[in-house]
Point group: C2
Chain length 374, copies 2
Amino acid sequence: MQKVGILGGGQLGRMLLQSAANYVVETWVLENDEECPAAHLCHHFIKGDIRDFDTVYNFGKDLDALTIEIESVNVEALEKLESEGKRIYPRPAAIRTIKNKVLQKDFYRQHEIPTPAYVITQTRSELDEHTGMLPAVHKIGEGGYDGKGVQVLKSSADFPTGFDSASVLEKMVDIRMEIAVIVAVNDAGETTLFPPTEMLFDPILNLLDYQVCPANISQKVLWKAEAIASKVARDLQSPGLFAIELFVDKDDEVLVNETAPRVHNSGHHTIEAHYSSQYDMLWRIILGLPLGNTAAILPSAIVNILGAEGHCGPATYEGFDEVLKIDNAFVHLYGKKLTKPGRKMGHVTILSKDRTDLMHKANKIKHTLKVVSR
Amino acid sequence: MQKVGILGGGQLGRMLLQSAANYVVETWVLENDEECPAAHLCHHFIKGDIRDFDTVYNFGKDLDALTIEIESVNVEALEKLESEGKRIYPRPAAIRTIKNKVLQKDFYRQHEIPTPAYVITQTRSELDEHTGMLPAVHKIGEGGYDGKGVQVLKSSADFPTGFDSASVLEKMVDIRMEIAVIVAVNDAGETTLFPPTEMLFDPILNLLDYQVCPANISQKVLWKAEAIASKVARDLQSPGLFAIELFVDKDDEVLVNETAPRVHNSGHHTIEAHYSSQYDMLWRIILGLPLGNTAAILPSAIVNILGAEGHCGPATYEGFDEVLKIDNAFVHLYGKKLTKPGRKMGHVTILSKDRTDLMHKANKIKHTLKVVSR
């Protein structure tokens, strides 16, 4: 039986482990929080810091393979483990490129992958030299996550909110739509793509609001999106699962926004809506099994269940029963004890042939289910 | 957060826990085998004998609710826990009735539920008095499971294979088809039924071979099946999930074969093929949430993956890759380390609108995937 470790124990790890139980595999999780969403669903939970060299190295040294559910891991330890013959999904070099937004942008440029125009800034004061980039998005090189580490700079008046360390200053694109394509790559380099998902964001929290799959795009945009997503995955030269977030601009040009080298929020719907889910697919890759079928059983939407504004503390769920009565909705709660504004507490997937039904139910769920603290 | 315990840690517990991770619930498993399929998927694994009074009582006394994944549990301990206010799914009285096949048959008779003609035998020698029942099936009152404790008696020459303890001698029915209906009952007594599943058995191992849902039955048979299944669940006077196995005879009469007061092999396909799976449904019942939608997303078949004849020992899977390449198949392995002939090692669900495709793939899988020991 293969021994596989996961760095990180959040909801992505939780869903990965739900899926692991369809296979024969012994699972390990490394995470600082003993009450994290994935802690009780593995064979062996190890409490420890995924950013610490010794902790990660010791966690991995007796395992056959490792994967991640978050990028903020100790890459040096993974590189040492890789050099000792451990299989890592994705390869540490790919994590290193992606986890730093400066390196990630340079990777796109080096590989001639279309991405919004940008400059690198090292200090906040450098922003003054780049007023020609406005309106722009400022993205911190390391440490950004879940809407943190990203600032919209509409005019130079916003410069004080910019970052005072190595960051990407990216010219804002006139976006028609945001989509995401998940690419699976196995050890032999074979790849398969999930159908693009259309993403809709909450303008205030800068977090994903809801998403629909398949995206409502033309054949031409689909081809561009697939070609670009394939190229990103190929050029990263690593097996694993990659979620490529793309902008479609008003001229139907497709640009890479960013890449996640792991299972991703934009693939949650695949659990119920697709033959092979993103989680199933990653196990197939790690265990050396044939790639799965990415086709949809039915079109789908997901609604993220986020902690309500003004509520911090033990989580309770309002409107939960009403959502559970919706006949084509699938509820996933992540079991996090504490809520805070914008925290990802769960998601709901809706299946329907009818896009109007998907959007209608998504809106209903968004306005019905609230995570509060009482 | 509710604390819920499961008695038994086999594959049904495993799938129940995969589903539990969609909700906010703290889970306990009681089982003698620390390497059982469910052991690593709960918050708290307790090693112990589910048939022992003190063990079951101590396991349950600090929990909010309990359920079972096998009937051979200590009912007295559950009765004591129930008297102390614990919620038990199903109620201990229902388990007591069902776990003993003599009591189960008497329950059907008392409630005028159609079931094959039978007599009770206390000793093997009594069989000689009932040659008029032949051909018959002899079912031991307590302790039968997975094809054990059941003997076909075609003529009096087979009497030596009968049981020498309290047993049911049941007249064999001229069967057109076997079907199963799963009924869900919540605390308020509200019920919902899953569509009938058609079951096909291996004549040698007397274990389920494959099954198709929905069953290919007339509207009239459907109504009878639903009426009878509803009555069984109602008359057991208990919330929980009940799988009612039914015979349809050559005259389209519907008779109860037997009932399982828990999630059941005949409902595995609901994981992928139905909006609410049987596992999801049981959590909704236990946690006091609205009942789910039992409708099928697509028609489905399942193939049981059984240990191959002549193989005992550490399990390996032949033909696994070929099955994983089938584009509408969903593989579930239960992670059991040891195989033996006829042991349930996994199952594969197939989804398709086309019944011919379902049967074709089911046969292909049955003849491709082998569990052996090398």
